[in-house]
Amino acid sequence: MNETSSKYKVGDAVIVAVENPTGNPRTPHYLRGKRGVIGAVHGVLENIRDHRGVHKPLYTVKFDLSELSSCHDQDSIWVDVHEEWLSAARRDS
């Protein structure tokens, strides 16, 4: 694990890329183009039982439910997303 090389920190506002053909394929479609906030920084996780290579740093990103669906409950969805799928977003834009 190497958290120091991670680009974002907890609380940073981020936006998920719509497409990223070279990125880790495991970013669900319902997140594409959506805004969230970094909830946890996991860094580069080595998981040799699961992967041949090492992926970019991993974050848990918190999304408001209302950002992702038409449901207006004050609930939240926390999803693990790799760094190459994220870019910085202005918090209130």
């Binding site: 880790n24 319902y30 996780l45 998981n47 039982r49 699961d50 848990t60 669906s69 449901c71 969805i77």
Partner: protein
Amino acid sequence: MSGKHGHKPFEGHMHDYMAHVKAVEEDLEYYRAKRFEPRIIYLLRRGVATFYDLLKVRAALKKKDHFFQIGKPRGKNIEARVRYLEEWLDEYVKGIALVSARAVEGMDMVTEDNRKERGDYDDFFKIKKKDHHGALEERMANLEQDLTDYQELLEVFVQALIKRGWATRSDLEQRWKQLHEERPWAGGVIVAKAWSDPEFKQALLATGREALREMGVHQGKVGKLVVVENTDSVHNVIVCTLCSCYPYDILGDTPWWYKHESYRSNIVQNPRQCIKEMFSLEISPEKEVRVWDSTSDVRYFVLPERPAGSEGMSEKELANLVTVDSLIGAGYALEPAQLREREAAHLEPEMPRLRPD
């Protein structure tokens, strides 16, 4: 054959045979198409065990040399036959675990390879699952035939691995024995300790697997473990919208619905409604629902709230209150009175199926 059926916990006498049969159909196809056949294809491509090895082994195989011994139903009535199908499915799944990467030398296969082979990233490669239909009798007969066929391929595959020298029969026999050993379910043990020992709970929430290593329970190996705590103000729920990621290396197999498309799509669209409709669980409006979608290398489980009425119970007693569903957020841990009701009705405690790597 022995072994408890994992995904239909707390069942004494069966009432809905069709539901049991459908659950076996669904799980059997899952394990065949997503767990076993991708492994064969992978090894086939690399020449470890080819089609021709399988054909030759099949032609020479005598019944007395079979690795797997499948018994007969314990009766002719429907209940005995359904139980037989469930137990056979459990044996089939253990058989797949037997030929997992860890057990077989030279089977250099990681989870990501499995996902590629079975078409998680590309529909073109998707292995088709069978459709099932018909009345109960017909479906049971079809399942018996499918299990016979699938078991035969597994038998031949194991024999081919032995013949080609990728595994020895005695190693496989030893592992087969281990796969049938009964031990207390780690989920219950871990949660009971977290309820009883505040220091352990803090360590578990802060460090995940590290804390498990210290308490000497099987800590598993797949990914980083994050444990999320249910409190007065937060109810956590776990899902994997992309496939069915779950800390199965620690907790055993998931309940059947965890892999189901309807759960995986509805829980991130409208969590409260999904929890209410699927599990009859109404989450208080005072609480925030947090859904954790484990899409990558982190595996999650929920630390449920300690139930009312459990004061003064020992860790061993507390462990019996922990259900598989409560570690996903699809239920609460049982109150002691609820456990007593279930025991009075002779309902079996749940014991999730050990899942292949």
